[in-house]
């Protein structure tokens, strides 16, 4: 019997394998990843200093434990470079460490699942190459912690979910942080101005300098290795490390090369199936109704329903609205991002304790954001959908 092959060992890929194994003890499963295979919770990467954890301490399960628990074949550090969907097989590259050669091998599949994740959006900034880091994997994070050791000043480009969490985590742990974003307030796409202003003040308590409505034009490195970022508003920011947190792009290259239908992400139907009958996709590489949802909950739900489908019980994926918590030291915030831009925010509350509801033009609730004490209203809001 040919195995189910899962490309990618992030949360989506590993959760799918586990859900399949819970339903079927015998079905052969192979997980293949270009990175080392270790289970970790990616949202923790932007919180780990406050959690007092090193990169290694974020690992929940090592390869050996995963292999045992999933009863699966795990191939790490093995990129896949081609899918032959007529033959139902993939071509992979294994590194032979003994004589340091690349070896190509073919792996047949019964069903193929793309869980290839998303990559940081490259920054089209002069001087960015080699001087800007992105933290998108545990390996990136491990490297990042080495870089920031004994350093003081950090510049973050982007004030979205990841940028705000990093600003909070770094500044509350003794780093001097600057944040640049073209928006007018933090999390502009998902919270109204009043709440964004409160979040800005909360993070500022630990000493963050915000530079809104500006972009980085150029980055210059001096002889001592110190970086200066030249902003569009004329400001020059000095720092030791620059992080890019401007967002992710679904990793769709393999799907595109295979001729699968893609847009921003891999296009799937209600059963997580791509335009090819034996190839499925889930997690950050996918788009649902034209939107990518790079969060844990949609990937967990997709893994659960896809596992049922793959084990013979065809199950539609129902994506219920799932609020995302954002960890800001002085202002707990819960956000259910609006799924449309057409509409307006209605805000209630004072100071940090705010509830904000986003209604579309038909007066239907399309998203909400709660902060401070108002996060206790979560279930009330969810029941209004």
């Amino acid at each position: 019997m040919k195995p189910i092959v899962i490309i990618g060992a992030g949360h989506a890929g590993l959760t799918l394998a586990r859900e399949i194994r819970a339903l079927d003890k015998a079905m052969p499963i192979t997980i293949i990843s270009q990175d080392p295979i270790q289970a970790y919770y990616k949202p923790n990467l932007s919180k780990a200093l406050s959690m007092n954890k090193s990169a290694d301490q974020l690992i929940m399960k090592q390869l050996r434990a995963l292999k045992r628990d999933l009863d699966a074949e795990l191939l790490e550090n093995t990129p896949v470079f081609k899918i032959s969907h007529e033959k139902k097989s993939i071509l992979c590259q294994a590194r032979d460490s003994e004589n340091n050669k690349q070896e190509t091998f073919e792996l047949p599949y019964e069903n193929l699942i793309l869980a290839t994740g998303a990559n940081p959006i490259p920054l089209p900034i002069k001087g960015a190459s080699g001087n800007v880091v992105s933290v998108n994997t545990l390996q990136d994070y491990s490297q990042f912690r080495k870089i920031i050791k004994d350093k003081k000043q950090i510049l973050i480009i982007g004030a979205g979910f990841v940028g705000c969490e990093f600003a909070s985590d770094l500044s509350s742990n003794g780093y001097q942080v600057d944040v640049v974003d073209r928006a007018t307030w933090p999390l502009e796409k998902v919270v109204p101005e009043q709440m964004g202003t409160e979040i800005k003040h909360a993070i500022s308590k630990d000493g963050v300098n915000w530079h809104f409505q500006s972009t980085v034009n150029e980055i210059v490195k001096d002889n001592q290795g110190k970086l200066s970022a030249h902003l569009s508003n004329g400001t020059i920011i000095l720092s030791h490390v620059i992080i890019s947190a401007v967002g992710l792009l679904p990793n769709i290259q393999l799907a595109k090369d295979t001729g699968l239908i893609t847009d921003k992400g891999i296009v799937v139907d209600d059963y997580s199936r791509t335009s090819h009958y034996a190839i499925y996709a889930l997690g950050d590489c996918v788009e649902y109704d034209g939107q990518s949802l790079p969060f844990i909950a949609p990937a967990t739900l997709a893994a659960k329903s896809l596992a049922k489908t793959l084990t013979g019980n065809k199950t539609k994926l129902v994506l219920t609205p799932q609020p995302v918590g954002i960890k800001i030291a002085n202002c707990p915030t819960l956000i259910c991002p609006p799924h449309t831009k057409e509409g307006s925010w209605h805000v209630n509350g004072v100071d940090q304790d705010l509830e904000a509801a986003f209604f579309n033009n038909k007066k239907e609730l399309c998203g909400f954001a709660l902060s401070g004490e108002k996060i206790s209203l979560k279930s009330e809001y969810l029941s209004q959908y």
Binding site: T15, R18, E19, A22, Y41, P43, M60, F295, I296, A297, T300, L301, A303, K304, Q322, V324, G325, K378, S379
Partner: protein
């Protein structure tokens, strides 16, 4: 309820107590772990039920 158990999320340490349930999520006090819906996600970190470990009280 006899033999009430506590389950803890291995990712974020959120605790589910069978005795208490989570009334605001319509999981009534006294709901056994096996009766919590399969598609229920940890309210704090969005991992699934499989991520919880049992702790006897």
């Amino acid at each position: 309820m006899n033999n009430s158990k506590i389950w803890q999320c291995s990712t974020c340490d959120f605790v589910y107590s069978e005795a208490a349930g989570i009334p605001e999520e319509n999981i009534h006090p006294g709901t056994a772990w096996q009766d919590v819906p399969e598609d229920w996600l940890c309210p704090d970190c969005a991992m699934g039920k499989e991520d919880f470990d049992m702790h006897e009280v």
